[in-house]
């Protein structure tokens, strides 16, 4: 019978006896709990985004996140205090997902990207974002949330990954490059393309639905 992550085997020795005997371990454990565990909600959300929410229930999102924290704890001595702990955890989560999810290699689809980018740019620069037809800029953003998610799903995996890490997870270009194990220049070019694709799709939707006007 599958042993869900909801009921892991617990140590038979209470933690207090361990801390009494090994103050350095207790200190290490306390430091990890203080610095890494506060990022639990962020890792949970990232795990769902990374898997497009379609996790195998045999390898649930809970499993992915728990595995990430266990690996992080084992490797805690390699983390440099003062650096971005969340980015460090995201890199571990990325490797956990790749390793446990067994996704097939996903390459950006071969498309006429130059033509697509040109069309995206046309939509973007011919949309009057500054004078929306709805009352406020907040309403513009609110009404664009569903189409932006749909446009995100259309992106090639590599581009989707970069825009999520930089624009949603707020990683720097260098941190995103480290998570994805690719050059910073690759992050920049993919980010630029991803943003224009998303903005172009939103511009089309915004004009078609009357949220904003098209401009000359």
């Amino acid at each position: 019978m599958h042993q869900p992550s909801g009921s892991p085997e617990r140590s038979k020795r209470p933690l207090s006896s361990m801390t009494t005997n090994d103050p350095r371990s207790a200190e290490r454990r306390a430091a990890f709990e203080a610095e890494a565990l506060p990022h639990l909600d962020a890792l949970w959300a990232a795990a769902r985004r990374m898997t497009r929410g379609v996790a195998s229930a045999a390898v649930s999102h809970e499993d992915l996140v728990q595995d990430t924290f266990v690996r992080a704890y084992r490797a805690w001595d390699t983390f440099t205090p003062g650096t971005n702990c969340r980015a460090w955890l995201l890199k571990i989560l990325h490797s956990v997902v790749v390793n446990r999810f067994h996704r097939s290699r996903l390459e950006p689809e071969a498309q006429d990207t130059e033509d697509l980018e040109r069309r995206s740019m046309e939509h973007i620069v011919h949309t009057d974002w500054e004078a929306p037809l709805v009352a406020t800029a907040d309403e513009v953003r609110w009404r664009l949330t569903a189409p932006v998610v749909a446009a995100l799903e259309d992106l090639p995996e590599a581009h989707r990954a970069v825009v999520l890490l930089v624009d949603v997870e707020d990683l720097t270009y260098e941190e995103a490059a480290d998570v994805l194990d690719c050059p910073v220049g690759t992050v920049r070019s993919r980010l630029s393309r991803a943003r224009r694709h998303l903005a172009g799709a939103l511009a089309e939707h915004a004009q078609a639905s009357g949220i904003v006007e098209g401009g000359s």
Binding site: P4, A45, S60, Q66, V148, V149
Partner: protein, 299 residues
Amino acid sequence: MTAERHVDERIDLWLDGLLDETEAAEVDAHLAECSRCRRLARGLETTRDALRESLSTDPAPAGLRANILGALDAVDAEAMEGSAVADEPVAQLPVTTDTGWGGARLALAAALAATLGALLWWGIRPEVDAPAEEVAEHVPVTVEEVDLVDLIHRGSVELAADQLPVHVAATDAATIEARWEAGGVTFPVRVLDLSAMGVEVVGGDAAVLDGQVAARSVYRDGDRLLICWMLALEADALGPAERTVEHGGFTFHVYSRDGRTLVFWEEGDVLCGLVGEGDPEAVLGLAQAKAMAPVVDAV
């Protein structure tokens, strides 16, 4: 004005605050005069804001933190006992001091190399150099036998939160069925109409259970959510039911898990399941009604 005289090449860096003062001032000055570039900047900014707002910020489920702490206890116990046995064969993660954030870099070679092969997720093949003896096939979960009913129960519990994630929430059949198609559902299923019983469709997506793609739809019945599952399987795949009920030419297989009732039945080659809390007979009644219900026309 040509692209070079616009600021296309620098607008992303400007947006991210990565230009130096001089370049930022140049871009600012150009934007003040060029409506085209102003629209580009505003479009990219609006899109980024919409993206940030759109994605789920659901907190981690209750209990996950406790489970993680329990797992850390196990790691501490191993260390205290000097045991080299790990619950998973993860090699030590080496530290390098080359470039990377903060001067330290985490190399995740050992757990990745051998099992990756053609595996990829983000679309980028990770470059890993792992000593061969440290490479081990990752065994993620000890699965002696897959209990499909348990998997479906867990996949239902994760949706029974206060608010459906944005990628699940939907009230129109076309959106849900498009998600099914995009998620790899190839068997014939439709969103069913339970409105006559006061039950409204509130969401749906595709899920994967032990490698099997499932179409999932979510209904609201008053205060509770009902999760409907559809898979290309036979009821034999479920294991023995706690009871079976014959009704209207269908055989309903009834299970219970943690206060929830799970009712399954076959419709042709598709195994359907309905998962709900509360009165088991009410869930069974809805399942029976669902088996006879008409489909919702996709608009």
